[in-house]
Symmetry: C2
Subunit: 235 residues, 2 copies
């Protein structure tokens, strides 16, 4: 936790916050924080700054805060990912928030198991918690927007073309396609398939909707590794 | 498992192999393989090709193999990482093999907990198993070399300068340093610190040993994400 995030409910008044639960436990066990310590704090959706720990007990910590810095900028990136299995989804949600993706779309695909759409990870409170963990890591305060599209065809035919109008859309897909471009600075949509890849019908549909099919080379990377690798390459 | 890896002990004769244990279980449960199916196979340290499943029972599968392709090339990269906590180390070992790192050095740092060096993940059989899982993912057959350096000072003063002679060595460290370069094609050593970063004495030592200190920008990424991100950026 490189940033202690708080929300409006944690405010005692304009300059004081009270922390409980998981964040308090982290302060106690990992930071071993004491009254008088100064910590980096950030308001969810707002500014970051410093918090001075006024007191810390078994059930609450009170901090005096002063906020002056903007959070780091988001990447000009809309990430569109075939819904991964729940364990990987947890890591991807953290990563997406950590690395600065502005918008995440989880979509269906032939190779997405139907049960994944029933995963409790997709519960909005669980997602929010995982995204917050990512923000805490990279000292960001702005939650990425997450959208779920449990039907492939309406997404690709009706939603995607409008989303990507006027921007570049790249579909990372193994095979004999042009290599993924490097260091593009403009607004981009990046589409990453499921383990095992999109099926040919899906690749054709995405391509018809305006996506360029690009390759990462001869290695097939796991989805979470591919996302970090591609972001390093693109931005 | 995008590649069924085997070793010399699995050979029945020059053109047949017998598979048991975890790999057999994967063939049964994930691939749901039947006699007559064709699978991608690779010999550890050797070529890849096709294997035709002759028969599969509860305790063994026999395949007729024909090998003709070289594995994908390794990156011109020596990765030097402060030993992470065991759970992350497991993921990093898989990732390193998957993404094509040729050589991994695990080093000590002030912020590496001493207990990490006693982790059973560092057992050579466990490491080999995790590296093989990475190779299976990206259809590689060549195990990366892994070296452990449980003492920081002798590594940096005696070992590192010889390792990096004539090549570029980059130390990814948060702060106000030049940004990490992009798309360098030559042989490179990349050094990534522990959670919380190297301490100033360590940064100075690494810098004195010939490393350029470079930044990833304002976000502090978890080690595993930083590795994938940096590799995407560098190669």
């Amino acid at each position: 936790m490189n940033l202690l995030l708080f929300c409006n409910d944690d405010r005692l008044d304009a300059n004081k916050i009270v922390i409980q639960g998981r964040r308090l436990e982290h302060l106690q066990k990992v930071h071993r924080a004491h009254a008088g310590d100064t910590l980096r704090v950030g308001e969810i959706g707002g500014l970051t700054g410093e918090g001075k720990l006024l007191n810390i007990t078994a059930d609450r910590a009170t901090l005096a805060i002063s906020l002056q810095h903007s959070p780091p900028e988001k990447l000009p990136l809309r990430l569109i990912v075939a819904l991964p299995r729940p364990k990987m989804l947890r890591r991807i949600l953290r990563t997406v928030a950590e690395i600065g993706v502005a918008e995440l779309h989880l979509i269906n695909s032939y190779r997405v198991e139907k049960s994944y759409w029933q995963s409790p990870v997709l519960n909005s409170e669980t997602m929010r918690e995982l995204l917050l963990q990512g923000l805490e890591q990279s000292r960001d305060t702005i939650l990425p927007l997450v959208h779920c599209h449990p039907r492939f065809k309406p997404f690709v035919e009706d939603t995607l073309p409008a989303l990507i109008t006027g921007e570049r859309a790249l579909l990372a897909h193994p095979g004999n396609t042009p290599p993924c471009p490097r260091h593009i600075e403009k607004q981009t949509s990046l589409i990453v398939g499921p383990e095992g890849g999109f099926i040919p019908y899906e690749v054709t549909s995405l391509s018809n909707a305006g996506c360029e099919v690009v390759s990462l080379g001869p290695r097939i990377l796991r989805v979470e590794n591919a996302i970090n690798y591609l972001i390093g390459r693109l931005f």
